[in-house]
Amino acid sequence: MNGDKLTRAFDNDWIGPALVSLVAIVVISIFQPSFLSPFNILVLLSAIAVNMLIALGQLVIIAVGQMNLALGSIGGLVAISFAAMMEIWQLPPLLAMCGGLAIGVAAGMASGYVIARTGISAFIITLAGLQIFKGINLGITEAQPFYGVPQSVKDFGNLAMAGPIPWLVLPMIVAGVGMWAIFNRLRIGRYILAIGGNRNAAELSGVNLDTTVIWAHALSGLLAAGAGMMLVARLQIGHPAIGEDWLISSFAAPVIGGAILSGGHVSVGGTFFGVVIIAIITQALVLFAIDPFVVQIVLGAMILWAVGINRLRELRVARAKA
């Protein structure tokens, strides 16, 4: 196909964050040469792999013009269920994984269904969902982690596939390519973006709003489940606290990657480099022994900065057309 298809595939949102992460890598490796050591790359890529699924989980909800506060607690619930299935019911890892993904999708569909049917703002429903799923998590684990994670799962979470590339990168690639395909090639992805872009136009064009919103939340649940189980593998423990700190980074990466919060425009590539930037900054702060909580300040500032830029871009487009 001609050039147009190419430019459309690589929308220009990812170029900015890509450059920033490149510069960051170069600068840091100058001050700290061990930044590029194989072991460090392994650790960095593992963090990026997990956070990419978390960011994609929020991205698919931002695309439909909503927000998902329950992302973390769905991830946590799936994490402990995954570990429990392996420890208590002695299920083989693959079967437990399918069980985990099913739980994630079910939880996502439940909140999607309530949001779609009642028309109540996604914020409040997913806030209630956050508490309910976290409550179920605590009810099952009574705040005690599950230790019975089989060695095969532990290896998947920590060993390298080739050189410094960890196995965890596999699910990231599958999820990244999968979501890119959904957003750019599958009908459900275009319908999700259509609702986010112009809800009324979508409705008039025969897009079934309710089912599409439920689909979006199901995908979000699936991705949260994936991230939760990847963390169980990496931490080698089914810990009830998994997912508690996902909220901020799940918004920061997509927004840095050029996603429009009112919905309708997302960039999987941009989100990936958003995740890379956050991972680099988090690690840099540890390397330079800066207070770890500075990350929170930086993330908050980056959200405001990215939102501000998107807002300016919208105003410029609006003014150009008026």
């Binding site: 196909m1 147009d4 298809k5 459309r8 090639r185 599958l186 009908r187 459900i188 275009r190 319908y191 973006l193 259509a194 872009g197 112009n198 009324n200 136009a201 979508a202 409705e203 008039l204 064009s205 025969g206 897009v207 089912t211 689909w215 309708g264 425009h265 487009v317 057309k321």
Partner: protein, 504 residues
């Protein structure tokens, strides 16, 4: 052959107002049918019925002879009734082709989209509309005219046989309008039935075959061929002749110093060289059709629209009003909004809460405390004088009739003792009795020395109430008419100003 679309004896009423009363419209295939009518004539309600947003209380809608009942707009679209509204119904970040083919992206949720075939198919429709643009381009990069054509293309792709265009030429350049008309004529020849809704009479006469005019929710005429009508006949039908000729004597032009003066004012909304002055006790009328820029001018006076040129004087002193709060508390200027539900009132709150909103600040004691008692003392006399019928001042205002609501939205400014009151379309959707009552009230206010700027497109109301009339069109003042209450003369003078400007 049977009518493509027929609305027969439709009636529709909302709480407090009867929007449509026994209205009919027949639309023959292969014809362009104009739908005309002033604000509040029920035009928008009829459009909503045709496009399936509302259902008529009585009467029925038939499509190609069969009666239909649309639960939602989607059903109307799939039944072949396409519509191009003012607000764009396109997904701006999608490509042109994808917008056109949004209906048929794929059989089921997970089907892969073949963009090659999709854009080829879309290009076919674009060529039909002489729009030679790459269908891959995102809609956000198009001009308004091009977007409109894409929407028409989208309707055609859905095998639309009935196409409704609502004010399509509002933001088009003259030659873009001609391009659009050429396409509409070609569609008409292909047998598509088109409903053309516009305020520009010269466009209607240039393009349409038949016309339906609505006034006060009823048919002024139904599907009359335009060939048999002159422009003035249509205008007469639109603005109607009020039997009750004004009984008020014309009032001599007051000679006191003007309270508000605008000197060749220009605004960001597009006003150019606006000059007017309003004296205390005087009622200045601002007549114009929808889109003439009258409400925007009012907003400019209140500081909600940025003033880019000229000067504004209050009591002879130049002022810069930053916000409605500034206008009210510093200069005593009030504004009765045309959009009662959104901008006029707070439906959730009580009558007292709405009537007193403008006086809270002045009634509060040093500490900012304020008891209902002092608010009631200030507002009850005004509510009583306006005969507002409400079970109590604590009644939620949303439960009151349209007429009573409008009385309260005027009462709050009277209670505030404003020196200049701008009233925008005061009697839209109001019953006849209350309408007459409001006219008397406006006169009474003027008698008591309040300067009034009356914005309306209801000709009889203008002639009955205003002392001096400014005619506005296309964001500029076209001319002034002294009001000697002679309906015939004054309405002709106004009409000539409006049409002269349009033709120029």
């Amino acid at each position: 052959m049977s009518a493509a679309l027929e609305v027969s004896h439709a009636s529709k009423s909302f709480p407090g107002v009867k929007a449509l009363d026994d209205v009919s419209l027949t639309l023959m295939p292969g014809s362009i049918h104009a739908l005309l009518g002033e604000n509040g004539a029920g035009k928008s309600t009829l459009i909503k019925i045709i496009t399936g947003l509302h259902r008529p209380d009585q009467g029925e809608v038939t499509l190609n002879g069969q009666p239909v009942r649309f639960a939602n707009p989607r059903q109307a679209v799939s039944a072949g009734i396409g519509a191009v509204h003012q607000e764009r119904n396109l997904v701006s970040r999608f490509s042109i082709g994808e917008n056109i083919m949004l209906e048929r992206l794929g059989a089921h949720a997970l089907s892969v989209i073949d963009y090659g075939k999709l854009h080829e198919e879309a290009a076919k429709w674009l060529r039909l509309l002489d729009l030679y643009i790459d269908p891959r381009r995102p809609v956000s990069s198009l001009s308004v005219a091009q977007m409109q054509l894409v929407e028409i293309g989208k309707a055609l792709a859905l095998q639309t046989r009935v196409l409704l265009l609502d004010e399509p030429t509002a933001s088009l350049t003259p030659n873009e309008t001609q391009v659009l008309f050429g396409i509409l004529r070609r569609l008409r020849d292909d047998g598509v039935a088109i409903v053309f809704v516009s305020h520009k009479l010269e466009e209607v006469f240039g393009l349409c075959d038949t016309v339906t005019v609505l006034r006060d929710g009823r048919n002024a005429c139904a599907a009359m061929p335009l060939k048999e009508l002159a422009r003035t006949d249509v205008v007469k039908m639109m603005i109607g002749r009020e039997e009750r000729i004004a009984k008020r004597a014309p009032r001599p032009r007051a000679t006191t110093a003007p309270y508000l003066q605008l000197k060749n004012v220009g605004t960001a909304a597009g006003h150019r060289d606006i000059s007017l002055s309003i004296r205390p006790g005087e009622i200045i009328g601002l007549y114009g059709l929808v889109g003439a820029g009258r409400s925007e001018l009012a907003k400019a006076i209140l500081g909600q629209v940025r003033r880019t040129a000229g000067e504004m004087l209050v009591n002879g002193k130049p002022v810069a009003i930053a916000s409605p709060a500034d206008a009210l508390h510093r200069h005593g200027i009030g504004y009765v909004s045309e959009d009662r539900k959104q901008e006029g009132l707070i439906l959730l709150h009580t009558v007292l809460g709405n009537a007193g909103i403008t006086v809270w600040r002045s009634l509060a004691n040093a500490l900012g405390f304020l008891r209902d008692r002092s608010v009631i003392d200030r507002t009850a006399p005004v509510l009583q004088q306006l005969e507002v019928k409400t079970p109590s001042v604590y009644q939620t205002i949303g439960n009151l009739s349209g007429g009573n609501q409008q009385k309260v939205s005027v009462a709050k400014w009277i209670a505030a003792g404003v020196k200049l009151l701008i009233i925008d379309e005061p009697t839209v959707g109001i019953d006849i009795k209350t309408k007459a009552y409001l006219h008397d009230l406006i006169h009474e206010l003027a008698e008591r020395g309040t300067a009034i700027l009356l914005i309306t497109s209801d000709m009889p109301e203008m002639v009955d109430v205003a002392d001096h009339i400014l005619v506005m069109s296309g964001f500029t003042i076209k001319g002034e008419v002294e009001n000697d209450r002679n309906y015939e003369r004054v309405s002709q003078a106004i009409m000539s100003f409006i049409h002269s400007s349009a033709a120029a």
